[in-house]
């Protein structure tokens, strides 16, 4: 029961944060919304049985990315500047798209038949060790490639952002 309540809290966090991020005209509020949403998501991950990913989510996303966005915002616009007036047509179009998309996906999800496994795999298979093992054996090419991408992104970001 409590568990259910916790999960719904997380879901609520995700959606409220997402709504804040989507509809807020103030960038700072949007970033805060993003953070809330990500936090809720991390909770859901935890709930889905993956503490490691949840931790990573908090560390990298909330700790890294969100903060980086805040920095970028502070470097680019003064926080006191009022954002431009909302464009009703644009917003309407966006909402219409979202509604159509959500309707379609929801319809699909409700109609879909998933071949669910009877019970979750063993605790061992969910361990960080197993994850690390898989990452360095089966997925090592992806892992290396990702490292390379990150490296390049960093170099690229520096190159782009430095003063000409």
């Amino acid at each position: 029961m409590l568990e259910q309540a916790v999960i719904y809290t997380f879901v609520a966090l995700v959606l409220i944060g997402g709504g804040l991020a989507a509809f807020s005209r103030q960038i700072l509020y949007a970033i805060i919304g993003l953070g809330i949403s990500l936090l809720g998501l991390a909770g859901l991950f935890l709930n889905l049985g993956s503490p490691f990913v949840a931790a990573m989510q908090v560390l990298i996303y909330i700790g890294g990315i969100t903060v980086a966005i805040v920095f970028a915002m502070m470097l680019s616009i003064a926080m006191s500047i009022r954002p431009p007036n909302p464009d009703a047509r644009k917003l309407g179009f966006a909402i219409a798209c979202a509604v159509i998309f959500f309707g379609a996906v929801a319809h699909l999800i409700r109609g879909a038949q998933f071949q669910q496994i009877a019970s979750p795999a063993s605790e061992k298979a969910w361990s960080v060790g197993a994850l690390g093992h898989a990452l360095l054996t089966h997925y090592n090419v992806v892992f290396e490639a990702l490292s390379l991408v990150l490296l390049l992104a960093i170099i690229g970001a520096i190159l782009i952002a430095r003063k000409a």
Binding site: V11, V14, L15, G18, A21, A22, F23, I27, A30, I31, G33, L34, L44, F45, L48, S50, V53, Q57, I60, Y61, I65, F71, A72, L75, S76, I77, P84, P86, D87, L91, A94, I95, C97, A98, V99, F101, F102, V105, I109, Q116, I117, P120, A125, W126, A130, H133, A134, L135, Y139, V142, L146, V149, L150, L152, A153, I154, G156, A157, I160, K163
Partner: protein, 101 residues
């Protein structure tokens, strides 16, 4: 919570991200929308990982990769935003029309 419920939450999150990405003119707000959509995808992957897949490492690694990529993407994106700001003193997506004919 069932798989369907997680998927619906993911879809909702994605839709919110979509609204964010489509309705804002501020580049940072766009980025936030995109991040939300990526996270919705992550949620889906995690949910499938939990309810469908026999080897639970797969989905987690996918999500980790997404997170890594998101980091890279954000780094680039933010540096571009800074660059644009320096060039235009604005980060309004609709004012960046130099390439349009």
């Amino acid at each position: 919570m069932t798989l369907e419920a997680y998927l619906l939450v993911g879809a909702a999150l994605f839709s919110l991200g979509l609204i964010g990405a489509l309705s804002h003119r501020n580049l940072i707000a766009l980025l936030i929308g995109i991040e939300l959509m990526m996270n919705a995808a992550s949620l889906n992957l995690m949910a499938f990982n939990r309810f469908v897949v026999t080897d639970p490492t797969t989905g987690q690694i996918f999500v980790l990769i997404i997170i890594g990529l998101a980091a890279a993407e954000v780094a680039i994106f933010l540096s571009i935003i800074l660059r644009i700001y320096r060039a235009y003193h604005d980060i309004d997506a609709e004012k960046l029309t130099k390439l349009s004919g």
